[in-house]
């Protein structure tokens, strides 16, 4: 259908979305970049002045930046490992002929639909509370000392609940990929004398490669900006123990009113995300050609 009139209509129809998205991206991003070069504090209006790279210097040399960078990486890395490994195992499990598989699958993917604030508060209060939580009861039943999660292992606690939320995403995608594996390939491998373990490593895992990459990249983009879970449970503490980059920028902007510094932090976050984004966009772009 490549006639002249249809091409023109097509352009006119695609334009509004592209223009509005372009504005939504470029205007705020331009402003963030501009602010990041200013000394700009909301508590001192009218005192804005050009400071060059000072904001970046202060943000990047602030010990809080390193702490939050480390927390961000630890959070992203741990959740990725848990969800990918767990996702493969659960995917393989759900790929078997289990009684009531449909219902079981619904139960397993349910956490993904829980809003982050609910997720955080249910885990914090009902499960991880050191006195009345479910985990405390389990620990005492075995004669152990209950863990006070949010003071003894706050980041671990955040990791657990974020991983719980994202595990279903990995399961869903990996299960979809598993189900698209050609039956003939497995049977050919069986004819070649491969056992279940060799089939997994030589047939199944390579087949899942793409799906695993997609899971890793997409989760990374969302995990880099985990916010609500921290906001409602620890508020970034104790100290800086659970402050990630997203939360650090938030505190700087809306709690300390340091617009310049927060903007510099925002740009750092954009750069970090873009490193991941480049790989993802390439991968999906390749897929588009098929």
């Amino acid at each position: 259908m490549s006639t002249r009139s249809s091409t023109l209509t097509g352009r006119i129809m695609a334009a509004p979305s592209i223009i509005i998205l372009f504005l939504w991206m470029i205007v705020p991003l331009g402003m963030t970049i501009y602010f990041s070069f200013l000394r700009y504090n909301l508590l001192m209006p009218g005192m804005e002045e050009w400071t060059g790279l000072d904001n970046y210097y202060f943000f990047l040399t602030d010990p809080a930046f390193f702490a939050s960078l480390a927390n961000t990486l630890l959070l992203v890395g741990s959740v990725l490992i848990i969800t990918v490994v767990g996702g493969i195992l659960l995917g393989l499990m759900l790929d078997q002929a289990i009684f009531g598989r449909g219902i079981l699958r619904l139960l397993i993917i349910a956490p993904f639909f829980i809003m982050p604030t609910v997720n955080a508060l249910v885990w914090k209060n009902l499960l991880m509370h050191p006195v009345s939580g479910m985990f405390a009861w389990i620990a005492t039943s075995f004669g152990l000392q209950p863990i006070d999660w949010f003071s003894e292992a706050p980041l671990t606690a955040i990791i657990i609940m974020v991983a719980w939320q994202w595990l279903p995403f990995a399961v869903l995608i990996l299960l979809t990929a598993l189900q698209s594996l050609d039956r003939d390939q497995r049977e050919a491998a069986q004819m070649d004398g491969a056992g279940p373990i060799s089939i997994f490593f030589y047939i199944t895992l390579p087949h899942l490669g793409r799906a695993i990459t997609v899971v890793i990249l997409i989760e990374t983009i969302f995990l880099l900006t985990v916010f609500a879970e921290i906001f409602v449970t620890t508020g970034g503490g104790p100290g800086l123990a659970t402050t990630n980059i997203a939360f650090l920028v938030y505190t700087q902007a809306l709690l300390q009113y340091d617009i310049g510094g927060a903007s510099a932090g925002g740009i750092v976050a954009v750069i970090l995300a873009n490193i991941v984004a480049i790989f993802l966009v390439r991968l999906i772009g390749k897929n588009l050609d098929r």
């Binding site: 979305s17 078997q96 956490p111 829980i114 604030t117 499960l127 009345s132 598993l178 999906i284």
Partner: protein, 277 residues
């Protein structure tokens, strides 16, 4: 490649194991729902009470009476449905054009749209906050609706694009040979065939908008605050309102859980931008 088990015993054993794993993963949600029917005292009792407590609906009543739950729920509905409907108008036309009248730049435009989704919200939090403050859009339903619409627009375009792509071009050409004009072609041929795709795109976007918790927490306080912000208000440490928290949470997640279960298959396609189907 569904495997079958050689002996029924193995089949049963594996099923039991799988169900145990599944129930463990589901447990937090189960426990939340259960707690919502307890009194506040039973909710924090040690050892925990499983079924042998006095079941009560008091928490549900009280959540509404004390904190006007329905106002927040209404905001959630308005914001998620509203942003999705605005998005549909833009995304359907855009994806339709990209799928059926592609140009040399279509692929790049699609990938560029995707890349806007990669921008972390904190990168633009400051200017958006300031602009919203200056324009009086803070805690304003319209303002936050626009943000949610723009956030999800790339996903909507992509999802619809992958659905539209699957409609055979031949059929649209046949319609043109049959003399259908562009509006008739869309109305009688394209739309009926695209309804399932549009429906699942809507559902996924309602879910994403409903659960969005960065912008809703930062740009709303009370008037436009949806359930994400309402639940966050329970994070204050004074007093233990677990049962009420659970009741409010159950109501906040129940509709979306149901929608989510219906749209689970499309979810994969939408969230992976068609890379995994």
């Amino acid at each position: 490649m569904e495997k079958t088990f050689k002996s029924p015993l193995k089949h049963i054993a594996f099923s039991v194991f799988a169900w145990l794993v599944g129930l463990m993963i589901f447990f937090p949600i189960f426990w939340m729902v259960l707690t919502s029917f307890k009194s506040e005292l039973d909710a924090i009792s040690m050892p925990p009470m499983f079924f042998d407590f006095d079941w009560t609906l008091a928490n549900y009543v009280e959540v509404q009476a004390r904190s006007n739950y329905f106002k927040f729920a209404m905001n959630s509905v308005v914001l998620s449905v509203g942003s999705t409907l605005i998005g549909l108008v833009f995304a359907v036309t855009c994806a339709w054009a990209m799928a059926f009248s592609p140009t040399k730049r279509t692929k790049n435009a699609l990938l560029w749209m995707l890349s806007t989704k990669m921008m972390p919200p904190v990168g633009v939090l400051v200017p958006i906050y300031l602009v919203f403050r200056d324009w009086g859009l803070l805690d304003n339903r319209f303002g936050i609706m626009m943000v949610l619409f723009l956030m999800n627009l790339p996903i909507m375009v992509w999802m619809l694009y992958t659905y539209f792509k699957e409609i055979p071009k031949d059929i649209l050409e046949a319609a043109r040979m049959d003399g259908a004009t562009m509006p008739k072609e869309i109305l009688f041929v394209l739309l009926p065939m695209a309804v399932p795709g549009i429906a699942s795109t809507m559902l996924l976007n309602i879910i994403l908008a409903w659960n969005e918790a960065f912008w809703t927490l930062n740009l709303t306080t009370s008037d436009a605050a949806p359930l994400t912000a309402f639940i966050a208000s329970y994070s204050s440490p004074e007093g233990l309102f677990w049962a009420k928290l659970s009741a409010a949470s159950t109501m906040a997640v129940a509709p979306i859980l149901i929608i989510g279960w219906f749209s689970q298959k499309q979810l994969v396609r939408g969230l992976t931008f068609g890379a995994v189907k």
